[in-house]
């Protein structure tokens, strides 16, 4: 085997290594999910979905957890979407290139890298104690909103940037004000991209456990939350709670809970990917 052959071989070997590396993570995850489904699927029934938590594994359910997650989803959306989109519009369309805009940009990059558990500590001090919201849904939603704000801002800016300058010029040329141009042209044109980012961000919020644990969401909440000021739990916390119990029955419960959580996560991500695909096709003007 001469040198050239050896190099050729290395090239081919590396190619297969690349395929292997790309797939190993997803293969392991698939095997794991398959085993979870085989463990947990049989546990999912009407009783499981409609029961309150219990000390007995076979009587326990995720009613409070999924209703809590649903509350959190909508409250967080309500807070984070307007705030994130507004901040992105300011950065992209209004702010001048100066010191402040530099600081804002670096700051958002930094916020995106702050560990989620730190947001929990922030929420604990500001929302739970200073604003006296207690361990309520509202405190949780505020905390998670701050956590996903950088994701929404970055995605919205990308989407706004993709709107062709010619469209904006045409609108200004017609005598539209800045806001009229943004409202009538920029936002409708970038809605697909913004929606993609928002949904991915909300999917992240729904999957988070650490920050909501820190602000004091409880594992055991024996009632369904009726208002944003109620105490709550969410699916990831319920799963975490069951995982850390020795009883095998609770492990099965955890597996069943994970199936639901993953279904929601993948559904949201699927919607996001679909919207992105449609939006990108739409982008050809």
């Amino acid at each position: 085997m001469n040198n050239a052959d050896k190099n050729q071989l290395k090239d081919v070997v590396f190619k297969y290594l690349g395929v292997f590396a790309s797939l190993i993570g997803i293969i392991l995850l698939t095997i794991f999910i398959a085993s979870i489904i085989s463990d947990g699927l049989k546990r999912i029934d009407w009783q499981f979905l409609t029961s309150l938590p219990s000390r007995k594994a076979d009587r326990a359910g995720i009613l409070t957890a999924w209703t809590g997650s649903l509350w959190i989803f909508f409250l967080t959306a309500l807070i984070s979407i307007p705030l994130g989109i507004a901040a992105a519009i300011y950065l992209e369309e209004y702010s001048k290139k100066n010191r402040l805009s530099r600081i804002l940009e670096i700051n958002i990059t930094n916020l995106a890298g702050v560990p989620s558990v730190i947001y929990g500590i922030l929420g604990l001090e500001i929302f739970v104690r200073t604003w006296k919201l207690g361990g309520s849904l509202l405190a949780g939603a505020f905390t998670l909103s701050l956590l996903i704000l950088p994701i929404i801002i970055v995605a919205t800016r990308e989407a706004i940037k993709a709107v062709p300058a010619t469209i904006k010029e045409a609108s200004f040329g017609m005598g539209a004000t800045k806001w009229q141009t943004i409202w009538h042209q920029v936002l409708p044109s970038s809605a697909g991209g913004i929606a993609t980012g928002v949904i991915l961000a909300l999917s992240r919020a729904v999957g988070e456990a650490a920050p909501v644990i820190v602000i004091g969401a409880l594992a055991y909440v024996p009632f369904v939350a009726q208002s944003p000021m109620d105490e709550f739990t969410v699916l990831p916390i319920q799963i975490f709670n069951w995982v850390s119990r020795p009883d095998a029955g609770f492990i099965t419960n955890a597996a069943a809970g994970i199936i639901i959580l993953l279904a929601v996560t993948f559904l949201l991500n699927g919607i996001a990917v679909y919207l992105r695909y449609r939006w990108q096709r739409h982008l050809k003007w």
């Binding site: 010029e169 045409a170 200004f172 040329g173 017609m174 539209a176 004000t177 009229q180 409708p188 003007w285």
Partner: protein, 281 residues
């Protein structure tokens, strides 16, 4: 901004030229003066891109701005509806008057200015909406909601832009589905819908095929009866065909401004002659 020595030298040069060769007014016309630039200078940062330009344009005429790429003709055109305002380093001196009023005065609202001064861009840029929505956009942002008024405006504007017959049955179709030439006429209709008195056209046919181009040119001929039109073009023949007056720009300076046929048949300035005969540019 303090002009450097170099720039003052430039200006001095300009003064000389002005005295020697160019007359800026046309006394042969009874029409009112619509647009006027007085000692206009434009800078992008330190870059002096329009150098002391003086010119007057009478109402209901077509004026062509010609000159090699980078001569400043588009920048100069965009002074008349203040589209340069969005460039952060933009900065100007001198006056731009429309109906004898300085449009760079503090009390002028750019939005109102632009309703009076419509613009058609180089590349057709319809909004990604229906034909109908495109035409009524200007009225909508003025807060006009009356369906009858809007419907009438759509019809009138599309007729004026010679597009009505082609699209009257498909007003709800996406504007993006139209051909390039139709899109550009739609953009003209969109501009006309707010009843401007001036139309600025920045190379409106440069992205179009010859047939679509000739339709735009015919349209310009008709529109001239009601509007003051200024068109930037790279195409000498086009300037010759559509315009009454032609202004030739070179590196930010207005070199020559005369009746179009005089500019093309008997240019006064050597630079103009070299340009229109295609010897540079």
């Amino acid at each position: 901004m303090e002009p450097s020595k170099e720039k003052s030298a430039d200006n001095a040069n300009l003064e000389k030229q002005k005295e020697s060769s160019i007359s800026f007014d046309f006394t042969d016309s009874k029409k009112e003066i619509k647009l006027e630039s007085k000692n206009t200078n434009v800078f992008y940062g330190d870059n002096h891109v329009i150098k002391n330009v003086n010119l007057k344009i009478r109402e209901k005429t077509v004026t062509a701005f010609i000159g090699p790429s980078g001569c400043g003709k588009s920048t100069f055109l965009r002074l008349f509806n203040r589209m340069n305002d969005y460039i952060e380093s933009f900065h100007m001196k001198g006056e731009i008057l429309i109906d004898k009023k300085d449009i760079y005065d503090g009390d002028i609202r750019v939005e109102d200015l632009r309703k009076n001064v419509g613009m058609v861009f180089q590349k057709p840029n319809p909004f990604p909406k229906s034909i109908y929505e495109n035409v009524i956009y200007g009225l909508k942002i003025q807060g006009i909601k009356d369906k009858k008024i809007l419907q009438a405006a759509v019809e009138e504007s599309l007729i004026s832009a010679a597009l009505w017959d082609e699209v009257k049955d498909q007003l709800n179709k996406s504007a993006l589905a139209l051909s390039g030439g139709q899109q550009q006429r739609l953009c003209i209709a969109r501009a006309l819908a707010v009843k401007p008195t001036v139309l600025l056209m920045d190379e409106p046919a440069s992205a179009l095929d010859p047939i679509a181009t000739s339709k735009i040119e015919e349209l310009i001929h008709v529109l001239k009866n009601d509007y003051t039109i200024v068109i930037v073009t790279h195409n000498m023949q086009q300037a010759g065909r559509v315009s009454d007056k032609t202004a030739f720009f070179y590196i930010g300076e207005l070199i020559e401004y005369e009746n179009t046929k005089d500019v093309f048949i008997n240019p006064k300035h050597e630079l103009t002659e070299r340009y229109i005969t295609g010897r540079f540019g």
